[in-house]
């Protein structure tokens, strides 16, 4: 039945608006697939914890005394109260504020008050643990399902996005820093993942910020913060033929990445300035000149890890899309420090995130408004089918199973829905 919502050329509007479809997505995708949880640098020491989301549930990622990670449901095994309410902290044990059931960092029960009143206190449960937790080079993913393919296999062709991010660090590691931004919209979560690799919309949706930047050419000769903003706004002003030259790559598993389109830019490899030179030297010291150049030449903008992560390695930024309802989504934006890089680079990362992804962003705010208009439009049943054929004639199937297309193709939408259909049908 669910298969009938996706045809090769179109998708039924129920995929975006129907609460029953949303519930099925939660069960079959967000309770089964590998989902990003947090980064290991957020819990470096024994006892460190952070609250995180795993699909519909709130979970606690804890660093145990043995150095391993536990991922526990934030729900007391007794009456169900949330155990932890601070977003992060350090603790020796987890203790419920209601009746003081107390747990070790691996979730096992230490003790309960009035244990003598239970016929068999040993039979009482500890905190429920998430069955599968794995880290890919420091990025912690988890799955609510005990079965399924291993994480590296799931990440498939998009492992390269994490690899490139780590290759870009002089010290070989990244650290989460700078907090996170949360933005909300009243639209379906898939719209964000589709729009992030839609290269026809910028010329229309972002036209007002392109024009604002064009009207102030002096901004490009101004201090770094202003320059970065102006370059970001201008980059959306390419012509359709130029967008066509930005390649799109789709990989088995629903993952997609797009090429770069910042022809000049504060973190572009061709940049010549003292900060970037210091960074490049540090990178050459780690990799040698040849590999350092190759790493910097990886010119991708958004890397989408299906179902809900977008990574921008060049800017050290990641977005995690959290579905709340068919028509309600929150996007979390986080930053990574390239360990060993000059501190000024990290300011650029923050500035990129502020300008591109804050709720006040001159770019993201227009996208979110469009998602809300789509959601409202799709609520009316005038036409049940949404066309997704743009550029299909140009899709090129590669020997490694990936598909390459021109930038203006709707390949990512078709590809994400093929994957979506497969997960929902299982």
């Amino acid at each position: 039945m669910i298969e009938s919502l996706v045809r090769g050329d179109a998708v039924h509007r129920a995929a975006y608006v129907d609460p029953a479809v949303f519930a099925l997505e939660q069960e079959r995708i967000f309770r089964r697939a590998w989902l990003y949880v947090a980064h290991e640098s957020e819990v470096p020491h024994p006892g460190d914890y952070v609250l995180a989301r795993l699909g519909p549930d709130e979970v606690i990622l804890v660093r145990r005394e043995d150095g391993g990670l536990s991922l526990l449901h934030n729900r007391c095994a007794h009456r169900g109260a949330r155990i932890v309410s601070a977003p992060s902290g350090n603790t020796r044990q987890l203790r419920c504020p209601y009746h003081a059931w107390t747990y070790r960092l691996d979730g096992s029960l230490i003790g309960v008050p009035l244990a003598e009143g239970y016929a068999d206190p040993k039979s009482l449960s500890g905190l429920a643990a998430v069955p599968r937790v794995e880290s890919y080079r420091g990025f912690v993913f988890a799955s609510h399902s005990a079965q399924g393919e291993p994480l590296p296999q799931f990440l498939g062709g998009l492992k390269s996005a994490f690899d490139n991010l780590l290759d870009r660090t002089p010290a070989g590691s990244v650290t989460r820093f700078g907090g996170s931004l949360l933005l909300e919209y009243r639209g379906n979560w898939k719209m964000f993942m589709e729009n992030a690799v839609d290269l026809v919309h910028p010329g229309f949706v972002h036209k007002s910020s392109v024009e604002a930047a064009r009207a102030h050419p002096e901004a490009l000769r101004s201090e770094t913060v202003t320059q970065q903003g102006a370059q970001m706004f201008l980059a959306n002003g390419l012509r359709a033929t130029q967008w066509d030259e930005v390649p799109l790559h789709a990989f088995p598993g629903g993952h997609v990445y797009m090429g770069g389109f910042y022809r000049q830019g504060v973190i572009a490899p061709e940049r010549e300035d003292p900060v970037f030179e210091r960074y490049r030297e540090a990178l050459v010291a780690r990799h040698g000149a040849e590999k350092a150049n190759a790493v910097l030449a990886v010119d991708r903008f958004n890397n989408l890890v299906w179902p809900n992560v977008s990574i921008n390695a060049r800017f050290g930024a990641m977005r995690v899309v959290r579905p709340l309802a068919a028509d309600h989504t929150v996007v979390e934006v986080v930053c990574f420090r390239l360990d060993g890089a000059p501190a000024e680079m990290h300011e650029l990362t923050l500035q990129f995130v502020n300008l591109a992804a804050s709720p006040a962003s001159l770019v993201a705010s227009d996208d979110l408004e469009i998602f809300e208009r789509c959601q409202r439009g799709l609520a009316s049943g005038t036409n049940e089918w949404i066309d997704m054929r743009r550029g299909a004639l140009g899709d090129q199937h590669q020997a490694d199973g990936s598909i390459v297309s021109r930038g203006t193709s709707e390949l990512p939408i078709r590809h994400q829905f093929e994957t979506w259909k497969r997960w929902l049908a299982q």
């Binding site: 907090g179 933005l183 024009e211 604002a212 102030h216 901004a219 804050s358």
Partner: protein, 160 residues
């Protein structure tokens, strides 16, 4: 040190004028109140010390603000179609005249767009430079009570 009554009165009138220019969407005149090297900052966290080590909701130079308001006057911005209406309320204004002139006020900000009305509360502070009988804003910071709200924020349009 608290400013004398006359200075307090002039600063307060200046702040009220800023609020009014924003409410009336007179963005060009609004930006005239800012020094060319001014910064406009809305931190993400109340205890935030710097915009350079943590994400912010807004952290903009005057040139970026100019692009922001140019855009709001451009009919093409989906974000501002239909246009937002806002009302800034300032109260509890205090002025300190020390090494620099610092004004503080409580802020209530109401925005109406389509069928939805949103309220924000917080504290604003300004560093001011005297200029003739008036002032220029050298820096403005707005701390919203719910800047780091767990559920995130819908987009912001007209500055606080």
């Amino acid at each position: 040190m608290h400013a004398p009554l006359e200075l307090w009165h002039r600063v307060q009138a200046f702040l009220f004028q800023e609020a009014r220019l924003l409410d009336e969407r007179r963005f060009g005149e609004w930006l005239e109140l800012y020094a060319p090297d001014a910064e406009y900052w809305v931190p993400y966290a109340g205890e935030q010390q710097s915009p350079k080590d943590h994400v912010s909701l807004f952290y903009e130079t005057v040139q970026l603000l100019r692009m922001r308001v140019d855009r709001l006057e451009n009919e093409l911005a989906p974000l501002d179609t239909p246009k937002s209406r806002v009302s800034h309320f300032l109260s509890n204004v205090t002025v300190e005249d020390g090494a620099e002139l610092v004004a503080r006020a409580q802020l209530l900000y109401c925005e109406y767009r389509r069928e939805e009305q949103r309220w924000f509360a917080g504290r604003s502070s300004w560093r001011l430079r005297p200029e003739g009988a008036s002032f220029r804003i050298a820096a403005k910071r707005v701390d919203l009570l719910n800047a780091d709200q767990d559920s995130g924020h819908l987009r912001f349009t007209i500055p606080f």
